[in-house]
């Protein structure tokens, strides 16, 4: 079974980040505090289904659906 990603989460759901499949994206997301092992909460999805807003620690971070699909969950 393929791993779930942030793109599969429902609003309000929380999950733990397992790894980020894209290196460049991974570096940027990690710098924003989205590291493997950290908790993410899906805050909201834009009305047209993209971008997606996740809460990581104390920040609300917005990424596009393609990027969210690269953030695999534990």
């Amino acid at each position: 079974m393929p791993m779930r990603s942030i793109a599969d989460m429902k609003p309000g759901e929380t999950a733990i980040v397992h790894h980020i499949a894209d290196d460049d994206l991974g570096q940027k997301l990690m710098e924003m505090g989205c590291l493997p092992g950290c908790q993410v909460r899906l805050a909201t999805i834009a009305p047209l289904g993209c971008p997606i807003c996740v809460q990581i620690d104390r920040s609300l971070l917005t990424i596009r659906r393609e990027a969210a699909a690269q953030v695999k969950l534990a």
Partner: protein
């Protein structure tokens, strides 16, 4: 070389921090409103700088660097900022940095701060937005932070101004060198890792750095901050429920856009009319009280209207930037981008392009200045290039006259006016051209490297009114001082073209017009009007209008329209006044219906057809819609892109497109 610079120029201090940490407020708190906007050498990324004199008399320059999240640049624009910090030979390389960290999101803010501390630059840590953190139940121990990071630390509240003295004190005090690294043992090694993009294993080293840094910061923040859980759902969560709602969110957004439009369009009209009235009065009283001659004409008809043409934009700019600053400062703007991203990205634009494009319906000048908020260089460029297609308020008087000429006054269902529909179609066409050309430009302008969309939605906070006012003031000042020069220059050229002709041509034409008016027993007003027409016809502007006639013939335009097109470069609505002068409507002309009647009667001297038959009127409307006929827009594009070639390219490109479309419309309708 480096030494002489150090002696001659004041010490450079730089303000560095994440976006949305109140950086510009701290900057304004320290320097007042003396800042100026500069571009980094060779690129269009801008920074603000201002002189700052420390309590002990040391003169410095404080630079407010654009907000970044990390020293590992994620876009070409960020690379410009990180280069200032990493490259010791950079002309803006600071001797000290002020690291700003938002107390409500301390860990992420210290990520950047700890990176910069490791570069070995002398630094002072400023903790901002403590009030907001405390309202979230987060309390910060400043002394603990200072001790653990080994850096002088000050809490500053930009809203109340508290902490300002302590910060100034810290800026002049000697700083003892820090013990080596947080993670890396030497500043040189770390700098080399950051600069050398081809170093083997760099990716892994940076990833490892990030993981370790966050682990250390997690522990450090745990010791320096005390958190009291608050049961209450945050204001941000509750507001986002409504503001990002699939239905309410967009309705509120449309409402906000409507308010912006109304404010720039209607509210600004009052001060604009006052400025216009004052300058017209000044011009007339100068003409009455000074001896007649070219000098009086230069002042009353060249210089004053030129200055008026600059000042008249100030209310719109101040109002739009006040609103934009309010939206940015409160955190709403980021939500707008969030909601509009998916739609706008299809056209090569950013969610941030929505506000500039929409403001373009009122006036392209403040709209193009509002493109500053678009961080991505390519998206900003495309937005600036297409915004003038949005049908601005200066086109409205032109459309009103031309629709009245070409479209019968018919109502459908008793209330839908055909003229209104045509007007609406012009707005829709303008918008379609803006989005369509953005789509084309997206294909043409290559993206610079891979940019990953990542946007932080800041917590909602009450906007600082001083910041809003400061933004309105600073943007107006920038416009008057920078774009104003070009506008004044072009308006003087236009004045010269309309007031002078080869040899004694103007005097001769006027004399013969007055003689024939006398023969026709014309009233003094009519005589003056006929004389003005005769003068304009033989002036350089008239000659130029005639000279371009072969080029505009295929569009159905004669030389009289040619003159109006040239004069309209001052501002599109000048078309109406110029047409009135050409058709001898005289000074007191105040009523478009008399102009419409006059235009309707005019016959083309060559073909004998009505000069302004529907095919011509529609062709002319399309031309006014699509051509870049506005010296102020031209001037601000040059200023904002810091490039004559983009500004001229836009002028030529839009005008060519306008010519082709007008030609098509005229050919089909004729």
């Amino acid at each position: 070389m480096a030494d002489s610079r150090a002696v001659l120029t004041p010490k450079i201090l730089a303000l560095v921090g994440n976006p949305n940490t109140g950086k510009s407020s701290v900057f304004n708190l320290l320097t007042g409103l003396r800042q100026k906007v500069g571009n980094f050498p060779g690129v269009t990324v801008e920074h603000h700088d201002a002189p700052l004199t420390l309590p002990n008399g040391t003169r410095c320059t404080l630079i407010d660097l654009p907000g970044i999240y990390s020293l590992v640049a994620r876009s070409p624009d960020e690379a410009v900022v990180t280069d200032v910090l990493l490259n010791l030979d950079h002309p803006l390389h600071p001797s000290r940095v002020v690291l700003l960290a938002d107390a409500s999101n301390l860990k992420r803010n210290l990520y950047l701060a700890s990176q910069i501390l490791e570069l070995g630059i002398e630094a002072i840590l400023v903790i901002s937005l403590q009030d907001m953190a405390e309202s979230h139940g987060v309390f910060t121990r400043i002394d603990q932070l200072a001790q653990e990071l080994g850096v002088p630390t000050v809490a500053v509240n930009a809203r109340t101004g508290s902490g300002k003295e302590a910060l100034l004190e810290a800026l002049q005090a000697p700083i003892s060198p820090r013990s080596p690294g947080f993670i890396h043992q030497s500043a040189q090694d770390y700098t080399a890792l950051l600069i050398d993009k081809d170093r083997p294993g760099r990716k892994e080293a940076l990833a490892q750095d990030t993981v370790t840094r966050y682990q250390k910061l997690e522990a450090l923040v745990g010791r320096a901050q005390i958190e009291q859980p608050t049961l209450q759902k945050s204001i941000t969560q509750r507001l986002d429920k409504v503001l990002l709602h699939p239905l309410w969110g967009y309705l509120i957004f449309l409402g906000v856009l409507f308010v912006i439009f109304q404010a720039v369009f209607a509210l600004a009209a009052y001060p604009m009319d006052a400025i216009d009235g004052a300058l017209t009065w000044a011009g007339q009283s100068l003409k009455q009280n000074l001896p007649q001659g070219w000098l009086t004409s230069l002042v009353a008809e060249g210089l004053l209207p030129g200055i008026g043409g600059i000042l008249v934009f100030v209310p719109q700019i101040a109002i739009l930037f006040g609103i934009v600053a309010f939206l940015e400062d409160s955190g709403y703007m980021a939500r707008v981008i969030f909601m509009a991203d998916k739609i706008m990205r299809r056209f090569g634009l950013s969610g941030r392009s929505v506000v500039p494009l929409f403001s373009g319906l009122a006036c392209a000048v403040p709209a193009i200045m509002a493109c500053r908020t678009i961080e991505n260089r390519r998206e900003r460029l495309i937005t600036i290039l297409v915004t003038p297609f949005m049908s601005c308020s200066a086109r409205l008087p032109v459309f009103t006259v031309l629709t009245a000429l070409a479209v019968p006054q018919v109502y459908y269902l008793g209330f839908i006016s055909l003229q209104g529909l045509v007007l609406f179609a012009m707005y829709a066409t303008g918008t379609a051209f803006a989005l369509g050309s953005a789509w084309v430009l997206k294909k043409l302008v290559a993206p610079q490297g891979r940019t990953i969309f990542m946007l932080e939605l800041p917590w909602f906070k009450a906007p600082r009114w001083q910041a809003v006012a400061a933004e309105a003031y600073l943007k107006s000042r920038t416009f008057v001082l920078d774009a104003g020069k070009v506008i004044l220059f072009i308006s003087l050229i236009l004045w010269f073209l309309a007031s002078f002709g080869p040899g004694q041509a103007l005097q001769k034409a006027e004399t013969s017009a007055r003689i024939s008016a006398l023969a026709q027993k014309a009233t003094p007003d009519q005589t003056d009007a006929l004389a003005a027409t005769a003068r304009l016809e033989v002036s350089y502007a008239g000659l130029l209008g005639k000279a371009i006639e072969p080029a505009i013939r295929p569009l159905g335009f004669d030389w009289r329209i040619g003159i109006s097109l040239i004069a309209s470069f001052a501002a599109r609505e000048v078309f109406v006044g110029t047409m009135a002068t050409i058709h001898s409507l005289g000074q007191g002309f105040n009523d478009t219906s008399s102009l419409i009647a006059r235009l309707r009667a005019a016959k083309d001297p060559i073909t004998g057809l009505p000069s302004y038959r529907p095919a011509v009127a529609f062709s002319l409307m399309v031309f006014y819609l699509l051509a870049m006929q506005c010296m102020s827009t031209f001037a601000i594009v040059r200023r904002e892109l810091n490039s004559w070639s983009w500004a001229i390219g836009q002028l030529v490109g839009m005008t060519t497109l306008a010519w082709l479309c007008s030609w098509a419309v005229f050919t089909i309708l004729n």
